[in-house]
Amino acid sequence: MTTTTTTHDVHHAPTPLGGGGGWRRLYRGGLLRAVWMTPLFGGIGFGLVVLARWAGSWHPILATEPLVLVAALVAAPLGFLGGIGAFDYWAYYALGYPTRAEDHTGHGARSWRDYFRVNTDHKVIGVQYLVTTVFFFLAGGLLALLVRAELAKPGIQYFDPQTYNGLFSVHAALMIFLFVIPAFAGLANFVVPLMLGAADMAFPRLNALSFWLLPIAGIMMLSSFAMPGGAFACGWTGYATLCSSHQPIGAIFFNQGVQWAGASSIMTALNFLVTIITMRAPGMTFWRMPLLVWANFTTSLLVVIATPFIAGSQFFSMFDHVMHTSFFNPVGGGFPLGYQHIFWFYSHPAVYIMMLPGFGIMSEVIAVFSRKPIFGYRLMALSLMAIVVLGFSVWAHHMFVSGMSSWLRVPMMITTLLIAVPTGIKIFSWLATMWEGKLHFETPMLFALGFLSMFVIGGLSGVMLGAVPIDIHVSQTYFVVAHIHYVLFGGSVFTIFAGMYYWFPKMTGRMYDERLGKLHFWLTFVGFNLTFFPMHILGTEGMPRRVADYLPRFADLNMFISLASFGLGASVLVFLYNMITSWRSGAIAPANPWRAMTLEWQVSSPPPIFNFDEIPQVVGAPYEYGVPGAQHAVLAPSRAREVEEEAVPV
């Protein structure tokens, strides 16, 4: 399981600094050094807090919350990052030591061990991202199944209320911050530089650091279950004052976990922006970029502008909790609704952060498997920009019943409903792309069609939620649970699956099993609808969300939903089995199994260590299927011929 072809490795045999084995290994960047640096930094953090409290005679000196916060949630993760070597280059530079000239030892993967160290190769980082996010997808999914087990019958069966509240809170936090957002970042990490004709991302070391922040955030959120009083249990929205003043210590694990995941997001987004703006191959104008690149460009804009707001809201909430400030606590003059305004100013754009990259994947998959150019390419790109701009003007539609100024509701309703226009343009353009095409129904295309149909339902229920009086009736009920799952599962997760199957041959050099892929799709599609569609009815009838117990009249539907959800959960096993066995022993993939025109398919599978032997010259649009003699790019002649020979039609 290597992601680079071996021919290029010869010049770059690893020559670690300091060399040698034995004790020196303990001082070299890597997991071994992280094993002692993590507790060391944790201990330093612990000592600082004790010292400060002792000096100020603040009793008790061993106060749990500040100690856990500083030692375990801030200092220890920094020690871990330092230990694995994420800061080595910058630390050497800052301290005036000779820095290592870039010898590319941190590039490419020759064995599985290379995935467990700080690697600066965007392709390795992409795979690291995807494997990590799939792990947290499984963890979040298991939590969801526990939630459904409890909800199968009215009354409280398996979990006490605090634990139950923790289950759905951690489920949502993991799915959003550790699966959907970073899984898109992982796919884009692998694909975007290749699509641009670039050798790597603009800042490879920053790229490596952004990945290693993720496991920290995920482990932090999961480990909150081990805290006294249980995991954070105020929903992934963490509303003040419940989360900021009335929760056990687990709450700050969410506050702080979001910081690490958010920092990772911001770094990656900056990296994408600089890469897309400055590292396009000659001839790759903005209007010749594949729509996946456009999608990640617009997503990165959203991330860079919006994420600092959630960072702020979580810091303030945590300060209220640990330091007894009064950002949101009315007892000290704070304003609880302030939290919601700041939170949703990020978290509504975050919905598009979780959607636009999926739109990009859809444009790639639908064009390639319909064998037609994307219908209305420029309007597709412009509608992405329209969504970015409008996306910042709708946040308060999450707050129609929050008690905010009531005049704000109508303008926010209008902007919210208007977003249906650019979104509609995209859906109609995909349909028009398929019209009169030559449709091939491989797994990525099936997931694309599944996405189209499910996202239409999610979009329409979104329009319903946008209409204020309907929202007043159904907000905070299961209707909202149904809506977000149609948008984030039927939307985002289906596109992530489409992307994973589509680029699997490019990433691993092997084909996945098509029959298992199709089986996975049908199980997911059916299981998904059986699970989430009935939730609409529960919601309009008035069952509140986030409850362990409910009125007996909702019992039958809930039992049905729980049974369906276990089927949906089982469908993931097919996906896992397919991915693992195909990665190990699938058929060898040709360079371009889908006969696609974008640049990543014009190099070998997996691509060479520096992507292109020679920087390609882009000469045309990316989706010129059916145009006689059309070309997207000209590659060095030797390479192009090789690819032609390897190419096997679908």
């Binding site: 009335h246 209305g376 390419y377 209008i414 349909l431 009086p469 008035g542 299927y625």
Partner: protein
């Protein structure tokens, strides 16, 4: 486009729309409405549903048609026609959704402003929420208090709502109205009940571990019966502190303050699981070595003074010392002590 394909396309569209309409009409979507506001919201709901079914049918028709008609044969390696776009079509599918969402926005705006408009003789009800119970009081009738929201039929009612701790929310599905109660703010909710009956009233904003059980009822009564009920409550409560003697029943105080949402107590038929089991008070009091009555009183007035292992601090409201008048508190304590002693005897 051939005429045949238009016919097929429309046919698929009608079938898809029909299925969607059947799902919309045959399944029990909305609860029976019991307020004028819910009636208007239901109209808007069906208006938007009709538009949604139209769009869904159109998209489904095109998609299904594509899947059926444009499927490539396994050995077909050709590309489709290189169509890059069509300005007229693109303008059309920008404008049509724009018009539809504008219609939805205008209709919603009208419904919203009517739903919020108060009539001249609006009845004021004050709502106070705390973890995990609501209290309703009627300021026009000497602040009569009730754990159940009683409303007269056909009269415009405005709820003025406060929260003492975290954010809660008042929702009666049959009224179709909902609003959060935010600490530090007074929020408002307008309801004009127009059907008699008893409806569930639930907290819909996650408010902590007892959230799922934070439920009570809304009772819509004939206007005369409502007035009579108010009058009956009034004398007792207008001079509550003065006239309440020890005769006040501890069981009633237990019920009024919604202790049952969190605690188990056989004598009061309470089965809450959030807080400590009050049938075990005798055993609990042994750990801090306090006399039972003093222990019970302290646990009500300052609940953080002693926390039974397995339970958390700051869950029980710390305001009962102020909100429960002294005579009622005495009654509650003696009621709890007696019930707990009885429970421990039956077990022992």
């Amino acid at each position: 486009m051939r005429r045949g394909s238009i016919v097929t396309l429309s046919g698929i569209g009608v079938i898809a729309g029909g299925i969607a309409a059947a799902v919309a009409l045959l399944l029990p979507w909305l609860p029976q409405d019991a307020s004028r506001e819910a009636g208007r919201t239901d109209f808007l709901f069906w208006f938007v549903i009709a538009i949604c079914i139209g769009i869904f049918a159109a998209v489904a028709a095109v998609m299904i048609y594509c899947v059926l008609h444009f499927r490539a044969q396994p050995d077909d390696h050709e590309d489709g026609p290189p169509v890059h776009g069509h300005t007229g079509l693109e303008i059309t599918w920008t404008l049509i959704p724009f018009v539809l969402v504008s219609a939805i926005a205008v209709t919603s705006g009208i419904v919203l402003s009517r739903n919020d408009a108060q009539a001249r003789d609006t009845l004021r009800v004050d709502v106070t929420a705390q973890q995990f119970a609501f209290t309703f009081s009627y300021p026009d009738a000497g602040n009569v208090k009730s754990p159940v929201l009683r409303l007269p039929e056909g009269r415009s009612v405005e709820l003025y709502m406060r929260s003492l701790d975290v954010i809660h929310s008042v929702f009666v599905p049959q009224f179709g109205q909902k609003e959060d109660l935010v600490p530090g703010l007074v929020t408002q909710l307008h309801i004009t009940p127009d059907k008699l009956g008893t409806f569930p009233l639930e907290c819909t904003e996650l408010c902590g571990l007892g959230h799922a059980l934070m439920r009570t009822q809304a009772v819509v009564m004939p206007a005369k019966a409502f007035d009579a009920w108010l009058r009956k409550q009034q004398p007792a409560s207008a001079t509550a502190a003065a006239t309440h003697t020890l005769s006040v029943s501890g069981a009633k105080v237990f019920k009024q303050n919604k202790c049952a949402s969190c605690h188990t107590l056989a004598a009061a038929h309470a089965h809450g699981k959030v807080g400590p089991d009050l049938d075990k008070l005798v055993a609990y009091a042994k750990r801090p070595h306090k006399p039972l009555a003093a222990f019970v009183r302290q646990s009500i007035v300052s609940p953080n003074a002693y926390i039974q292992p397995g339970y958390q601090r700051n869950v029980m409201p710390q305001t009962f010392g102020k909100t429960i008048p002294k005579t009622q508190l005495n009654a509650l304590v003696s009621f709890l002590v007696k019930s707990a002693q009885k429970a421990s005897k039956t077990k022992g």
